[in-house]
Symmetry: C2
Subunit: 342 residues, 2 copies
């Protein structure tokens, strides 16, 4: 790490959640220069320990005074906690990298996918906060952004297939418990989701807005525009929860301003950092959660010319929701931050 | 049944398969006037019996001579069997109602969803064959067809979420076995599908064509055009297998020639036979496989104006693949056939 300091004091708010665990793993694996690690969670997790580089570290209660001496505070404890404690962390001198939706649309908060709009990290100074985008938005943009740069996307129709991990560790347990109950011939219990998710599809993620779209769907619209810095981009989204554990998939159909072919798109995808082209139908090679889970890169395949418009492409992109969709992207932001600014 | 005969001799080719079982159930429940039932299957099923109206009936081997004295022959044993034995059945005097893809695009074979294009049944005389459309196409069209009639659909982007039952009874067992193996901590075996389907998504249904679309995807394009009798309709499809047992879902985004609103679309959907509107997001009401499985009707919800085009709508439709997607639609064709022609 070519940062000015040798190592940084790092807090993780939400350290015991699904994303929190992946944060610890990724910080260790990528050798992020951590001097001190402070895992934070709600009061009921106090007494627990998390493991960082093989060492147990006691969880502390997340509060106003959690951030003294902290350089970087990763938040992954939901939008309410981010709103409550994020500004306090920034006032205490930490740079907040927030995984929730709390500050994403704040014009003074940069919304960053390093492969796409890294220079925006410079705006961290405005509020001391950098927002990590919605997981499905990141996965979609890892393929859509390079395509947009090369051929200018005008209109996108996106249908998502979202893993339960996007709803947290308790949602992962719920699907696992339902599957075990089903195998044992017992009734299935639903608490996290409004309905059984095992063997089912729930076209309802986050709250509904007045026009019938969900907040999750509007994140795909609004965050894509902000990250691509193109407010003329039109996106028609449908987001659906599927009985998959950790990787999100998106079926993306895009109309472009410039002519696009399968070959020219593939060339663009192949050069895109963080994206692997997996598209050899004859050999049954296409992206799937089975492959993408646990991987840092996102995978694009099923690349086809959309013959229903003059210039268009349709493709299928899959990425690990907990990694590139959450913790990995946040750590990549932190890496660039310490490299250039801290 | 107001047919001229009092009752009909009915053969079911593929009687021991996933759809075959549902055929027997639906013929009984709808009181289809069956005089004689002849269940047909491959040699390895001879010796088995199927249950029809509580009575066991011996399975016979499907062959050239299986159709003597038969009035109506339902085929649901795959396209190869339909090509091999369908014409023989028709020559023997049976009207073939074929659930496979074998004859769907034959210009002399009507392709029928009774709620949409019932009058085409009259063309049964040309070859003695009526084709039952692809399951996903039927489910999508149950909502799209009335919308098309009211507002003229010009372009459709469709992403499917298809249950394993579409790949037959062995595929249903495969998902069930994988889930049981997972719960028991054992390795998962994949034979029917190229990969594990439990906790996974496979964007590959039927064979791939040269342009990267699958044959399943092209069924959505070509069968929709034939059934709607509108060869100007453009469809950009993506079909995906999901770990769901029996109901297919489709996310449909449609550009129309005429202006469409959520209210006007809902009115059209509410009047459409065989379709139920389930669209009350505030009460968490939207179509799901959990509701649609075992139901005759298809369900439409998540009805939204598509704000990215001048005239457009996006919605989510779910239907039981084995019922309206297969056996029910075929029996409904048979009901109209005996009512009007036999």
């Amino acid at each position: 790490m070519p940062g000015r300091k040798k190592a940084y004091n790092v807090a993780i708010a939400g350290a015991t959640g699904a994303v929190g665990e992946v944060f610890l793993d990724i910080l260790a694996k990528r050798n992020f220069p951590v001097a001190l690690l402070r895992p934070l969670a709600s009061a009921r997790s106090v007494g627990k320990r998390v493991s960082f580089r093989g060492t147990p570290v006691a969880v502390e209660e997340l509060g106003e005074n959690s951030f003294e001496g902290i350089d970087i505070a990763f938040f992954s404890a939901g939008a309410t906690r981010s709103r409550e404690f994020g500004p306090a962390a920034a006032r205490a001198g930490a740079v907040v990298i927030d995984n929730s939706s709390a500050f994403r649309m704040d014009p003074e908060v940069p919304l960053v996918v390093p492969e796409i709009n890294e220079p925006r990290i410079a705006d961290w100074r405005k509020k001391g906060i950098i927002a990590n985008p919605n997981c499905t938005t990141i996965v979609m943009l890892m393929a859509l952004a390079p395509l947009h740069r090369a051929f200018r996307a005008k209109r996108v129709v996106a249908s998502s297939y979202q893993a339960v991990s996007g709803a947290g560790a308790s949602a992962v347990r719920e699907l696992e418990d339902q599957v075990r109950a089903w195998a044992a011939g017992k009734p299935l219990e639903a608490k996290v989701f409004p309905y059984q998710i095992a063997f089912n599809l729930i076209p309802h993620i986050d709250d509904f807005e007045e026009d019938g779209f969900t907040k999750e769907e509007m994140k795909l619209v609004n965050e894509s525009r902000k990250i691509l810095d193109d407010y003329a981009l039109r996106v028609c989204p449908t987001t659906v929860r599927v009985p998959v554990l950790a990787a999100h998939a998106v079926s993306v159909t895009v109309e472009t301003a410039e002519p696009v072919t399968v070959e020219s798109a593939r060339e663009v995808f192949e050069k895109a950092p963080g994206l692997q082209v997996m598209d050899d139908p004859g050999a049954n090679k296409y992206p799937m959660p089975l492959y993408a889970t646990g991987e840092d890169d996102c995978f694009v395949g099923r690349i086809r010319r959309d013959p229903t418009v003059e210039n268009g492409l349709t493709f299928w992109v899959v990425g690990d929701q907990l990694r590139k969709g959450a913790a990995l992207n946040a750590v990549q932001i932190a890496e660039k931050l310490v490299e250039k600014y801290l």
